[in-house]
Amino acid sequence: MRLLWKEWQQQKWIIFFGLLAGISFPVFKCLYMWKNERHFVTDSGSGSLLVGGVIFAIILAIATMHHDIRKGTDIFLQSKPVRLWKFYAIKYLLAAVLLYITFLVVISLDIATAVLRKQSFSFTWVVFCYTYPIALLLFSISLFLMAVTRDAAKTAFLAIWAMLLIYFLPLMFRGLEWMNLFEQIDNANQQPSVVQYLIWLLSLPEKITPDMAVYRPAGIPDSFYGISILQELLQIISSHNYQRYLLFVAAFGITTIIFVALTIKAMRYNWRWHPGQKSIVWTLGVSAAAIFGIAMFQVGHNLEPVKEINGKPLINPATYDWNYMPESLREGLPEGHSISNSSHYYDRNTDVIYIKDDLMFRITFGYQAKDGKDLIQQNEKVIRHFVLQIYQFPYSESNSASSGTVPNFVIGAMKISQTESITNYKRQQIFGCFVRENYLYTAYRPQLRDDEKNRIDLDNRPIYLSTIDISNPSSPQLVGSIKIKSTMNFCTGFANYGDHCYLSDGGQLVIISVAQAGKPEIIRQIPYVAGGDKCGVVKKETLDYIFELGDDPGFPSHRFSIVDNKMLCSSYTKIAILDLADPNKPEVIFNKYFDRGPFNIRDTIQDAALKDDILYLSNDNGIYVGKLTKQENNLLSCELIGKRLTTPIERLAGRRSGELLLSGDYLIEEAGYFGAIVYDVSIPSRPRRVYHAQVDNFASNIGFWNGLLFMQEYNYKTTFYQLPNSNNK
């Protein structure tokens, strides 16, 4: 008890001032928010903890050891009839308890804010759960360093160096992902947590309405009522992310104990180490510089927008938004009404584009509203319009707007179809579009009226294939539409191959011929037994053609793309390839899951690309490369030959896997908040990142236009780049 009292006397003022400093930021924020918005709201506690928590632990260790290592005091302590290990064990344990309480107090206001506002406090909790073990480790390291160096300044430098390594080495080495604090914070909302689950339980979610319940934490299944609390706890603890956290706690806990033991030994046997301050500072500085340099070069960009092409200056970046829409978009609308865009960026589920020569055709949808009306609320009812917009390539000479204003590259636009009045949040679906001769063909599915029970009316959602005459791009004309009965699924696979068009809603494959210009004709509708990614065995046709899926149920229908005379079909876990030698009778030559077996790609596949016999897959972990080999039965098999995994820094900088494009020896990836990444795949088994185009917010679409790579981001800002020595599509 006396030891405890002694340690408390040594640590209490530091703890008090640390608590004061840490809580001051959230308190100030609360007062500021109350003053301006009449809300007690703060999220500064987690920031204080993240920035200052570990440094505070280092200061605490130095302050408490400072007295014990003074000349005379160290001998005096050892002369007492108390075992030496008890001194330092109690010192450590008291500090552990005080740090725990201090950290909890610092984040208490953040948690209170989240609970009161029915929001998630995952971020705050993750910061605490990861900062506390790191703080304890640095505390024990600082104790040890004080014992051997007997110098507070050197201890501080060395402890800061250790802190630097703990925080930033996981960014360099993929194998240390389990201790990468930044990645855990970045994915805070997906981290399962026993504590958050228990708090959610205590809020009695089954007894109160959903809008009053505490935010449902990650990992709680929808079938909550079907499993017991114990089963749910087991599910959380046995999840991959939680196991990784337990590994983190175990590793740091054991290392902490080792350093405490080393401290005791150092005090008992008078270990000494006197590094020069110069050596320490240079080591710290050079390590920091090396880490910084590696990090910066991983996220730095080296692809610059082009200024001209073929001697013609470009307006780059160009904006292809809803400004300058022609009067044709108002035709048929009530007086004073217009059609406004629904979103401010390209969304592949609701926007499609097709490039031909200097023209870009975009099919999208907007909502009908009075001119000047404020933004429509999500639960308001609106009429949605499917529209065609035609833009031209952004040569400076093509800009018809006056200087100083947003450039105008609009050629023409028209309304294709409209829905009845439905709730604004109901998402529409557009499958795709293509141009053949002077006609543009596009498939879309208006969604979704509600049935009498206010649920999606799955029985009444036909797909429409519209034909538009674009012989005069400034005045496109709707020729007609055909109606295709859809299944109860939500995929939007679409591709065109010569005179044929293939589309799938996840429950069927529809083959359409456009051999007769302007007159599309449905050749074949191949139903699946069940829709989406888990569809069952295809019913065998009685004709001479069988769409054979073999023993593997399901057909991937999220994305289709044509490569030579094959069609690549992908979903989140499965890839299939169809041989289109006979376009009316596509033959399945490859159909495999990739979340098992040698590939075992854990995260969902975002896109796939095919070139010759090399298959590229992208997901949030990186790029995977497989080689396709023809078997005796004419089917293909695939073996993994290489991969290029995302570095922790790239992931932290916002790389999220998206579309893949191939061009010559380059594989281009739309990388979300990281922009676009260009890989050299001249050696397919070793993709190498060679270029990076940065983006202001996030990349939503990439493609090629007139030999230039373009990247679209928020507000339809489109930037063009020239890839060196590439044979662009």
Partner: protein, 239 residues
């Protein structure tokens, strides 16, 4: 004797100056080469690094080592006035962070002028920013040196600097929450109170309003600097 004192300080501290130049140039060069952020943001990062971190580190190693090594008595026996000792040490420590910042800023200015594609930013921006960074850094450095407890070691000096920095931010927070509304009706009063804070040197880069009186900021900071130096010198003399 003063020259010999300066030479002694130079010998002890020069490695810090070299370290500062190497680190700051490296960070600046890397940020510029990777184009991770705009050139202006790079400059602000350089000035922040120079002004904040290096000033703090420099302050830790000016007076405190004499206490830790027990050489302050030795210095006191030399036939030189105490104010010269104080000033000489302050000066060399001050150069430890100002020279790296100036080297960086001059280097950026030269790169800017010699760029064939055109200038990245105004030379005026570099000049004002460097001036602001030096001003803020000088105040932080001086306050850390002078407010550190008598006979404290380097660690305590560093802790003092951190507390001083914390006080700056707390002061800003209090101003923001309480007297900011006075800006319109009583601008001079608002400026008198807020310009006590060295963070306000940032107004030399980007004034928070068009009617700001920068001369008032300079005068207040100069007075604050003078008072701090006098306080520090008297403390140093007593120790």
């Amino acid at each position: 004797m003063f020259r010999q004192l300066l030479w002694k300080e130079w010998r002890e501290q020069r490695w810090k100056l070299i370290f500062g130049i190497v680190m700051l140039v490296f960070f600046t060069g890397t940020l510029m080469a990777t184009q991770l952020s705009t050139s202006r943001e790079v400059l602000v990062a350089v000035w922040m690094l120079g002004g904040l971190v290096m000033a703090l580190y420099s302050a830790m190693g000016v007076f405190a080592p004499e206490i830790s090594n027990g050489t302050q008595i030795f210095l006191a026996t030399k036939p030189i006035q105490p104010w010269k000792i104080f000033f000489g040490k302050w000066l060399i420590g001050w150069l430890n962070f100002t020279v790296p910042m100036l080297v960086c800023s001059v280097g950026l200015a030269i790169i800017n002028l010699t760029r064939p594609e055109g200038q990245l930013f105004d030379l005026q921006y570099i000049t004002r920013g460097t001036f602001a960074g030096l001003g803020f850094g000088t105040m932080l450095y001086t306050m850390t040196c002078c407010f550190a407890p008598r006979k404290s070691g380097e660690a305590m000096a560093g802790l003092t600097g951190l507390i001083v920095g914390l006080v700056f931010f707390a002061h800003m927070g209090i101003i923001e929450m309480t007297i900011r509304p006075w800006n319109k009706p009583f601008p001079v009063l608002y400026e008198l109170i807020s310009f006590l804070n060295p963070i306000m040197w940032i107004n030399f880069i980007q004034p928070i309003s068009s009617n700001i009186h920068l001369w008032l900021l300079a005068i207040e900071q100069f007075i604050l600097f003078g008072l701090t130096i006098v306080y520090g010198y008297r403390k140093w003399k007593r120790s």
